[in-house]
């Protein structure tokens, strides 16, 4: 079963064409690394997959649903696609624990205790359980990246994107 399917995806920024007809398939459970020089469109493509950017031509099908303009359940799709950003984009006003539990509580409607248990489990998996009550600004770059991964995993997504 394919998790992500892209067919001839094109995208422009003004006159500059960032994506020149990308066609590919990613199967469930597959790990795919896209490598290339800076500015070659890696981030643009990954951001198209969870609709942070809109592609202008071609088709992207995520988890069996095509991304089009009249996408009503975009929030539902995004909650199935975890994303770790290049610059992490942690919420600076929330503690590490709150960063991780925010979406499970508000989007998945989990109880606070349940969400925190899961978050602790994930923090242990990424090796920084002792940082749970700190704010992102107090962590090193590497620790922040781990938190960002834990935050994305906390939603138990079907697909993970690492920018």
């Amino acid at each position: 079963m394919t998790a992500i399917q892209a067919i001839d995806v094109k995208k422009w920024y003004g006159d500059f064409q960032a994506l020149k007809g990308i066609t590919m398939n990613v199967a469930e459970g597959e790990v795919l690394v896209i490598a290339g020089p800076s500015g070659s469109g890696k981030s643009t493509f990954i951001r198209c997959i969870n609709r942070l950017e809109q592609h202008q031509d071609g088709q992207i099908i995520v988890d069996g649903i095509e991304l089009t303009n009249d996408l009503k359940n975009i929030e539902a799709i995004r909650s199935e696609v975890g994303m770790v950003f290049q610059s992490f984009n942690l919420f600076p006003h929330l503690t590490v624990m709150q960063n991780i539990t925010l979406a499970p509580i508000w989007v998945r409607k989990k109880s606070k205790a349940e969400a925190e248990e899961k978050a602790m489990e994930l923090l242990e998996r990424v090796g920084i359980p002792e940082q749970a009550e700190k704010y992102p600004g107090q962590l090193s770059g590497g620790q922040q990246q781990r938190v960002a991964i834990a935050r994305a995993l906390a939603m138990e997504p079907k697909i993970m994107l690492f920018d």
Binding site: N50, L52, E75, A76, R78, S79, V81, G82, M83, F85, S87, N89, L90, F91, P92, H93, T95, L102, A103, W106, V107, K134, Y135, P136, G137, Q138, R151, A152, M155
Partner: protein, 611 residues
Amino acid sequence: MSEDIDLQESPPEVQFAGVNRWLRENLFSSTGSTILTFISIAALVGLFRSIIGFFISPEREWTAITYNLRLYMVQAYPESDFGRVWITVGLVIGLLGLTWGFNTVNEKVLVKSILTNLLKVFASLTLLVIIAPTNVVIDKVEGTTVEVLQSSLRFYLVGVFLVATLISFFARTRFYKQSVVKDYVSLFYVGLLVLAVWLIRVPTVTFDSSNVRIEPDPLLPLAASTKTPWTALYVLLIGMFLIGRILNSRQVTVLKRVIPVSWLLTPLIVVTWIYRKPDFTMGQIASIDLPLIIGFSLVGYLAINYLNTESLVKYQRYIVYGTLLLSVVVYTLPVMRQVKLLLFLFWILVTVAPTVANSKETARSLFITWTVATAIIVLLMRGGTSESLIVVPGSSIYGGFALTWLLAFFGIAISFPFGVMLALGRTSTFPIIRIICTAIIELVRSVPFITWLFFGSVMLTLFLPKGVEFDEVVRAIVVTSIFSASYLAENVRGGLQSINKGQFEAADAVGLSTVQRITLIVMPQALRAVIPPIVSQVISLFKDTSLVAIVGLFDLLYIGSKVIPNQSQGANFLGTIQENILFCAIFYWIFTYSFARRSMKIEKRLGLGER
């Protein structure tokens, strides 16, 4: 991991290098800075000498303030109803104590740092007494001087303050490790203020039996007639503080909701019931209000519990439109305003009930909220629409500090949510809302505040339907709030723009909805970023309330600058404008400065962890 911890060393202690070195490094580091230091000290001494001279000159008629404190506070509010003023103050102080006690974190403070503060205060007082002038000029033309500070008194004061300074200095080295709970220290300071009301004696204007002023003015305790109420209120403050602490330790979490609601309701209750002394009978409440509350509560119960049943859900749309039509029709009929308002609220209830009340618990809490809200609205409107029994010369029963407080509180309370909404509207992608919000902001802030006050006072009636009249104070509040909101909106917009685009994307990527994104991610960060300008805005709103004098309201400053300096009957205070203006300035300063300090602490606390 454990090896890492073993390797941890504590940082080296920073040694205080001594006064000499500090002086050398900071004040006398070069020839230029030495000269600058001496010039500044000379200028400061000169400035303080003249300020102290101004205060203690025999020309100053400070009795103008002690005699008129009541006028300053409540203007012409009748003395027979002062109980109402005290109830108001009591409500606020009681609520303050409860909030304080409930939210206290038992933060400790070192005795040493308290003593350091005392040391600074006493040392400054010693210095001030030393530099105080002996003579002041009372006639500029002839150069006549008069002795205001005998050297014996000066020695006595310097001695007292010096001893106090030395005591705090040595106590400071003695108690360098002990600490006390900060709240008790604050309560102790407030207690000192109350004690001062009893003990400190000031010159007071008195009259003999034939109503002739007794000269010279005798020294009487400050606030002689109000010391008992103030003491009672102090006891109330402590009592409510302790109650709040006990409730906090018992984890009565319902107070978390009760306290903010009480803060919003108290001013409304004060304005409609306590301060106005509304003219109504219990019979009116029993025969009109009670049935109204029960009726609407019952209809609400039906709407909440039966609108989402299957047989009715398909008619939902017709029921909503029907209720709207009904409320519009009733609005045009000559019925009580309570009914008109409640019908509109009922329309909102009918609209949201089927989706909100989807479980037994939510239905129950929605029903309780609806009933309580209905009761509060009906009862508040009963008080607000009844004739007021308080009669004062002039247009408004509010005057003096009572008016300043009222305008500031409602101005801030209304303008804050309104300003945030305007800011969100202006940054919204929805064109109509964006244009409307931008238009409001640009229009409101491009016209002077005084012009808007005139507009509210003179022209607003032309735009309102016939028969709708608002009190002058209400109009001033509305104008103040809207004006302040448009400035606030621009501050908040600045905060919104300061937020990294990545925050929006991260919120989107984890699947938050637009409303969740704004309330959980964007707004907390945006508001935090703009606390300093918002505080400035609130302070300037507080001071701008003095402009309402222009539409005939007697606020604190107007009383100080116009009313008291024109008093010639009884005590003669003609031309005491300097004393009164200075008093007003100090009064405003105390409030704005303590507010600024408070917000600085909040800022520090919120900024925690943001490097």
